[in-house]
Structure formats: C-alpha cells, structure tokens
Symmetry: C2
Subunit: 361 residues, 2 copies
DNA sequence: CGGTAAACCGTAAACGTTTACCAAGAAGCA
DNA sequence: TGCTTCTTGGTAAACGTTTACGGTTTACCG
C-alpha cells in the first residue's frame, strides 16, 4: 500500500532491498521468510513489514538452486483430455499445496516418446518426487530418477526398485460387485471393452474381470472381449465391433467411463436402448457419469484417495521416513448402481416395461 | 550406454563434469548446449558425446537464475475440471513446446483468493508471460506483472495497460447463427442459461445472445434468462428453475456445453425429450458434445485457435515485437448443428415424428 | 563483579549456469 | 617476414538465495 518507497523502480526487488529497508542482514531476512524460530520477534516484525511494503516475492529458482529442494512434485498422467485425470490432478494439487508443494504436470498421450520428454522435464526442473499415473516407464528413465535421488510412486504394482513405490488398487472388490450385480439381474454373457494394451492398470482391470467371471461361474467368450483405448471414440468403435457379431453379449463392462459413454453413443446411433437392449457398467465414476443419459452404473475409484495417498507416499519418503518400497495403502473400489443396468431382454418374464423405471441412487 | 565412466556416482553430474570429460571449458559446453554457432565443429562433437555418455541434463534453475528467462509460460484457467479447459491446455502446451517453452498451470475455481495465489506462484517461478483464460484479475496483481515486466494476454477485452493484451472472440457470429437457426425452426421464445456473473466472457455471451434476439426481432423475456455457473450441476439447477415456470420457453441456449449437458439431464429426469419438448444449444463444442444423447447442437469456438493465438501473442512480445496492446487476432465461432434442435411442439404441423431422425453432421 | 553459556545476528561461501571480456592462435596482407 | 584482423576458447563475474561458521551481545550463576 505504501507507495513512497521510491520511483516505482522497474527493477525487481530482491532480498537485499528487504534487508536494507528493514535494517537487517540478508541472512536474517532469509531466516524470517523460512520461519526459522531463533530470530528476534521485533526484527522479524520489521522484516515482515518491509516485505509487505516492497511486495517482495522470493525467487524460487535461486532458492531451489542453493537448497537443492524445488518443492515441486511431478505428476505424469495419460491424457489430460480424459475427465478422470483433471479430477485426479485437482485432488493431487490440493494435497500438494497443503504441504507447501506445487505440481508440474505432464501428459503422455500414451506415447513412450512423450513420456520420455515428460520425464526429462521433471528431471531438468528438479522435482522432489514424481507420481506416474499412467502406463509403465522405461527402465532407463527410472535409473535417472534413482541417480538423482528422486522418489517415484506408481499406480498399480511396479517393479521393485530402491526408490520406487506404488499404490495398490483393489480392483477386485468393485469389478466383482459389478459382475455379481449383472448376474443377479440374469445376465449370462457379459462382454468387456478393455483399455489400451500398454496401460498396466487397464490390463489389470481386464484380468480382474476375467477372474470375476470365473468366480461367478460364467465362462468368458473371447469374441466378447474387445480392445478399446479409454476414449469416447474407442468405446464407440469397440461397441460397433460387438454389434457386428452374430451372437452378442447382453451386458458390457468397460475399462473406464469414457469408453462406456462411447458405447452409449454407438447404441444410440444403432437405435438400441440402454438398459433394455444392453446393460452397461463403466469404471472410475467420473462426475459426468451421473449425467449421462441414462445415468451410468459404474465402479467408483476415489481419485481423492489416490491423489492423497500418492502425495503422502512421496512426502513421507522425502522426509526420510524411508521404508516405502512396499505399498501399505490400498485404494478401494465399489459399485455405484445407476440406470444403465437392468434385466436382459431374453430373461424378461412379465414386467418388461418397468425395469427402466427403477431409479436407484 | 557407456558405463565405464566411473562407479555410478550418486552425485548429480553438472556442466563441469561434461567439460572435463570433453576436455574443454564449461563456457564451451554452455555454448554448445545453447547452439551458439561460433564453436568449432570438432569440439562441439566432443561435447555432445560427453553429454550423451554422462546423461547430462542442464539445471533449469541455474540457467534461469542467471539468464533471467525461465522459458515458462503461465496459463490460468477457470476450472480444470470443465472439459473445455483440458482441451485448451493441451493445445496451449502443444503450441508452447513448439517454441521451446513449458507451461505452468493454475486453476482458479472462480475464486479471487485462488487467483491471487496462482498469480503469486507465476511471479515466484518467474514465468516469462501469462495467459489468463478466466474472469478478470485484480488491478494490483496486474501491477505486479507489469513491475516484473511480464506480458499478459487475456481472453476477451481487458483494460488497456502497457503490457497486457487480449484475444477477441467473435461471439456474435456463432450465437447469432444459433438464434437464427432456432427462429428458422419456428421458435419464438428462447431462454438462456448464463455463466457465472464474474466471468467476463460469460457476460459477453449473454449480452451477445440478447443482441441476437433483438436483431431477430424477438424480445427477451427476463424470466427466461437464468444464471448458471458453467458446470453440470449449474445447468441442471437452472433448467429446474425454468421448468418450475408457468410459461416456458421452447428452446434454450446455454453459455457453455457443460451447462447444456446438465440441462439434458434435468430434462431426462423430468421425463421430457430433447428436441421434442425443448430445443437446446450449447457453446464451446467440446469433444463430448458429439457424444451426448442426443448429440448436442452447439457453437464451436476453436480452442486450438485460442491457444495458438495466445502463445503467439505472448512470444511476439517477448521477442520485442512490441505493439501488442491491441488485439489483431479474431477468434471465430460458428454453429454446429447436431440433434438437440428441432421444431417447437406447438409449431409442429404434420410430420412430427420425423424431426428426430434428421442426422445432420 | 567476573566469567561462562546461551541466544542471535552477520559475513561469506556455496549452488550450476550464462556471458562479457580477454588472450591466443591462425590467416591475410604488405 | 612482420603486423593486423579474425576466430575461437577460456576466465571470472554475475544471478538471488540458503546456511555453516564465527562473533557479539545478553543473561545467569557463583
């Protein structure tokens, strides 16, 4: 507010300006700014006053250069354009700032080349830790992180390495619940649209689905398992493949919600109804899932949970709590029943029309 | 690849290591890394070789500290969770990396306090320029950017200031096209669901809508103009308000696509059909718009265009091409007709059922 | 009242680059 | 051959912080 501090110099003000205005040394200013407790209260007050008056902002790069800590956390995701990730990013950032960290974002678009670029940026900007929320990473990149002593956390099991750790997701709970729900409704042939092959978590989801089928006493029809890529287009295309089949499943589970929305669209174009003609279950429970028409039954995986656990994991290792290699934290999943699941057509006995109306929330 | 370089030192390698391995001075290494042309080809080759062998990555913060350029562009958006922004961000980043820049992301969530924090981060990290793609910013923050000599670009007209500039969006073209389309179908009372009041671009969209109505010879019914907030929930709530009205519009235009999707949901819940009971037009044309059920008629505003123009604007001013205050570049909008618009119920003469089927793409 | 310990603060040396300036060698010209 | 002019590489001084170290003051105890 005080403007008398001079002729509004265009030159940026630094710690020396603050020091001289407060009548102390730069070391003291630094200590005050870093909340070092051993500085006298009156000096501290003078410093803060000077900081206010001069609108002083410390230079992050100088700080990072000498201290060796950037207070930056890297976050590498698959595709920022898939709504699941913005939700994740938001939570991750929230968790990070709570501890005084900022985030550096990277999006791989499922390309190894881009992943390498992202990793390189993270290294160059000297992030203190990295969360990798997409497919696996080449070993030589992990070597680099290790060489620079930066901890890494993955989603889903990753190769055991000195500085890397992972978050375990209990896919089984939710997915199993999903097929049980379908079986309970009378479905006997259930299709699955997977994610991109390279994405580890997608592979796990598919394997878990297969396992659930087995447990439920159904056997998998290979033709009903088709590969998607976690996008709207991929879901649409995959469903079209399924529709081209002679014999078709009566229900479809999808590796993520975007795929399911693509499926809904394919069905709409084919003039088919959900859940009358096909039952549909997604995965992730993005906010949008509540808003599709009809609202999507899906498996919820809390991205808040994931984000929090990821940064906690990273930070605890930064504090030297070590351990870390094994992941203690388990992320839960569970089924959210909305309106894309119903009895299969062929199984319908009497009350055919009423199945659409069951608005479970 | 070559591992003989020593016992895999955990210490990070710096420019000195490269220099000594290549048998040159650090100045030469620096020159090589920065592609300064006056360095001898054979030395240059030796340096690159050493860089390869040592996996050397320059320290960005040291670089930035001394050169005064961070090669970082700030991007402040409203809400990362609104799919329009990820698409924007992706394009912005693409454009930035093309010129060797990286981006620092900030999301305000429509809160002035958060905006201030974002701006502060940008300043601290010493971004070379900032694009502000959300509501206006407090003057004192602009002062800070000016004091630090960092150029700013806004979307939509902003106060004229030495270092700030803006992108002009031709809202009128698309929105006018939208109401003309509706009028052509026979609609006479058209409602509008706006964005958050504080968002300048939202205010402009609403004003433009009103202007288009006037031009079309219709008069605005105040009760049909309701405030949303550019989210799914906001759209749903706003539509519920409209549905509670005694007399209702036959068509609704929305300030963005998320709002329109919320509206579709509200209509679905009320067991009303689009476009039979209500025609609906969105704004933005996010990728998802093609996938709603039915697919959304909307006004396209190319975020690729916006992103490219924003970084070009920033970079040209960084290069000192100056000028800049006035925005030469105009971003166009145009209507994309899909399946949420049709004749109003009351105006339907004979072929009522067929209107749904007109699949224009 | 003298001496020791504790509490604070300032000086200066890092941190890893870029870059202005200078020196040395090569090449061209008389 | 000797002098000038390029060319090219190296030396060293920044950049804005943090922090180890040492020095000065104050407090406390005998």
């Amino acid at each position: 507010m005080v403007k008398k501090s001079g002729p509004l110099r265009t030159a940026k003000i630094d710690i020396r300006d603050v020091a001289s205005r407060a009548g102390v040394s730069i070391a003291t200013v630094s200590r005050v700014m870093n909340h070092v407790p051993t500085v006298d209260a009156v000096l501290s007050a003078r410093v803060w006053e000077a900081v206010e008056e001069l609108d002083y902002l410390p230079n992050t790069q100088a700080r990072a250069l000498v201290s060796g800590k950037s207070r930056l956390l890297g976050l590498i995701v698959s595709e920022i354009t898939n709504p699941f990730f913005p939700e994740l990013i938001q939570e991750f950032e929230r968790a990070a700032v709570k501890w005084g960290y900022e985030i550096l974002l990277g999006s791989t678009n499922y390309e190894a080349k881009t992943m390498e670029l992202c990793a390189r940026r993270m290294l160059e900007r000297k992030v203190d830790g990295v969360a990798i929320m997409t497919f696996g990473i080449d070993d030589f990149l992990l070597d680099r992180f290790e060489a620079d002593n930066v901890p890494v956390v993955f989603i889903d099991p990753a190769p055991a390495r000195p500085l890397s750790s992972f978050l375990a997701v209990d896919y089984y709970a939710g997915i199993h619940e999903g097929v049980e729900h379908l079986v309970g409704l009378g479905h006997k042939s259930i299709g699955f649209i997977s994610g991109p092959r390279r994405l580890r978590s997608a592979a796990t989801r598919k394997a878990t689905f297969l396992e659930s089928l087995r447990v439920a006493g159904l056997k998998a029809e290979p033709a009903f398992i088709v590969e998607g890529n976690h996008t709207l287009d991929g879901g649409r295309d995959a469903m079209q493949k399924l529709l081209a089949l002679r014999k078709q499943p009566t229900a479809i589970m999808c590796s993520n919600d975007m795929t399911a929305i693509g499926v809904q669209h394919a069905l709409f174009e084919a003039n088919l109804k959900v859940p009358d003609d096909f039952s549909l279950i997604g995965f992730d429970d993005i906010h949008l899932a509540e808003y599709t028409i009809p609202p999507l039954t899906t498996v919820r995986m809390s991205c808040e949970d994931i984000a929090q656990k990821a940064v906690e994991n990273l930070l605890s290792r930064l504090r030297g709590d070590a351990g870390g290699v094994a992941a203690a934290s388990l992320v839960m999943t569970r089924l959210i029943v909305r309106q894309t699941t119903g009895k299969p057509k062929r199984a319908v006995r009497g009350a055919a029309a009423s199945s659409t109306k069951s608005k479970k929330r």
